[in-house]
């Protein structure tokens, strides 16, 4: 690892100033950034440690939702009484990711900022990676791509975003609160992540030196019926091949609210409005869930090794909706 400057920030504005001044990066749990630095994928000139900024609270908002400080650890968020009772799918999604040790270190802000796990990105011995080295090519397209995307890909990149938490945030209509040189901004989660397009090196829509200060969730209709299903190669501690966050509200025998997002299949959590709209007003029956599953997977563009994710995605959507329905 190349050496770097290191300092603890004490205010948000100060952190932003120091990142601009040094050209460095924000450092919180470090579970992804330090790993990438060890591998030579990232070599920031400076690290501005943001874990002493406070930003560790989970509070109720005026509208009855919650505001989550970006410095809250993944574990603390998953175990928070407000989240467990009002947004259990978020708790479940977070707990499905990584291990307790890593969740204790990683922050909510850092979770959104984590880079892809595409092995061509993570290993500098592979010269062709447009995300790491724009213009060098994409080795995954006709290489090892079993774990890569079905949607939102471009000629330049086929990687997925690995966050479980983000998939749950997607169905909860979260808003990411950001602070930067130009002040505060609110970014709906659906606009936070980017498709690679011609600039795969930019994972999200943050502008230079912008810093995530919090995540706001509106009140959720899915407290009673939601589920996070994660399908992976071993029973725990592995990234998703496909994951599904599903939320339902059922009133008088019909679905009155529904949201379904997929992880593991795109550079961002993948929601399909037509599929969700098609659930509204329908009875929560298997055939209805199957129709939604088919709609969600429309437009999937399998690569050489990940075609199984199409059927797996459909099965998983049906399974997650059925399980959400049966939660007691």
């Amino acid at each position: 690892m190349k050496t770097f400057e290191f300092e603890h920030a004490t205010t948000v504005e100060g952190a932003v100033d120091r990142v601009i001044a040094t050209g460095g990066k924000y450092y919180a749990g470090g579970t992804n950034l330090l790993d990438l630095m060890k591998g030579g994928v990232e070599a920031p000139a400076a690290l501005v440690d943001v874990r002493r900024l406070g930003l560790r609270d989970v509070t109720v908002t005026e509208s009855g939702g919650v505001l989550i400080g970006s410095g809250v650890t993944n574990s603390a968020l998953a175990n928070h009484p407000l989240i467990r009772s009002q947004y259990p799918v978020l708790s479940q999604a977070i707990l499905s990711g990584a291990t307790t040790q890593l969740r204790n270190m990683a922050t909510v802000g850092g979770n959104l900022m984590q880079r892809t796990r595409c092995p061509y990105f993570m290993e500098t011995a592979f010269a062709q990676c447009n995300k790491r080295n724009p213009g060098s090519g994409c080795a995954a397209k006709d290489g090892f791509n079993r774990e890569h995307a079905l949607f939102g890909v471009s000629e330049s990149c086929v990687a997925i975003h690995p966050s479980d938490m983000a998939v749950a945030l997607a169905i909860l209509d979260a808003t990411v609160q950001v602070h930067g040189p130009d002040g505060r901004r609110d970014v709906p989660i659906a606009e936070f992540f980017r498709l690679p397009g011609d600039e795969p090196q930019r994972d999200n829509t943050l502008r230079a030196a912008e810093f995530i200060v919090g995540i706001e969730l509106p009140p959720s209709p899915f407290a009673e019926h939601s589920w996070y299903l994660k399908v992976r190669d071993r029973h725990s501690y592995a990234f998703a091949l496909v994951s599904v966050a599903a939320g339902l509200r059922v009133e008088d025998g019909v679905i009155s609210a529904a949201a379904v997002a997929l992880g593991g299949v795109a550079p961002m959590p993948w929601r399909v409005a037509e599929a969700e709209a098609g659930l509204i007003g329908q009875p929560p029956a298997d055939a209805v869930f199957r129709t939604a599953a088919e709609r969600i997977m429309v437009g999937a563009q399998p690569l050489g090794q990940n075609g199984f994710k199409v059927d797996l995605g459909k099965h998983s959507v049906v399974r997650a909706l059925s399980t959400a329905l049966r939660v007691t």
Binding site: F6, H8, T31, T99, T100
Partner: protein
């Protein structure tokens, strides 16, 4: 180089550390507390688990400079002098190890895990039991709960069954 001060197993230590140094390498190579092990250096195996400010972490992905001022508990600090912690005794009696290399991490992890459960923390296994369990936390630590909570500690010798038996025995006694 920068000074890093840590309270390690109750004792304040200040060392000059390379800013690139992980907590793991600082513990092992500078403080010569070699009980904590390096199995992968990338957060994949859990052998380097210690507790920082009361929460278990993987020390190979912890930048020493970033935890300056923290409390660190390593496996060497879990016994009370010559008196083994019940977890340690249980590991010996239940044969919760073979080569022993992952054992420091298993014990550090289990020690923290018992505290987590006692304060009501969840795992994904808790969601199988319904909303009430999710809200209040599982009362007992079932084998499934223990396995999921310990899944970040890999044992290639495969002593898993005995590790769970040791932890479950202590968890029961603690109740």
């Amino acid at each position: 180089m920068r000074d890093v001060t840590l309270t390690v197993n109750g004792e304040s230590r200040t060392v000059a550390a390379d800013v690139r140094s992980t907590l793991l390498d600082l513990l092992r190579e500078t403080l010569h507390l070699t009980g904590t092990k390096k199995g992968c250096d990338h957060g994949l195996c859990g052998a380097c688990t210690v507790s920082v400010d009361g929460e278990r972490v993987v020390s190979c992905l912890t930048l020493a400079a970033s935890v300056d001022g923290s409390d660190v508990l390593t496996v060497e600090g879990i016994a009370d002098g010559d008196q083994l912690h019940p977890l340690q005794q249980a590991f010996v009696d239940c044969d919760g190890f073979q080569c022993g290399f992952c054992t420091s991490g298993q014990i550090s992890s289990a020690h923290a895990m018992l505290h987590e459960h006692a304060r009501g923390d969840l795992s994904t296994a808790s969601f199988e039991a319904g909303r009430s369990t999710v809200c209040h936390g599982p009362k007992a630590l079932s084998d499934d709960e223990i396995r999921e909570r310990m899944a970040g500690n890999i044992c290639r010798c495969g002593a898993y069954a005995n590790i769970v038996e040791a932890i479950a025995g202590v968890a029961k006694d603690v109740k």
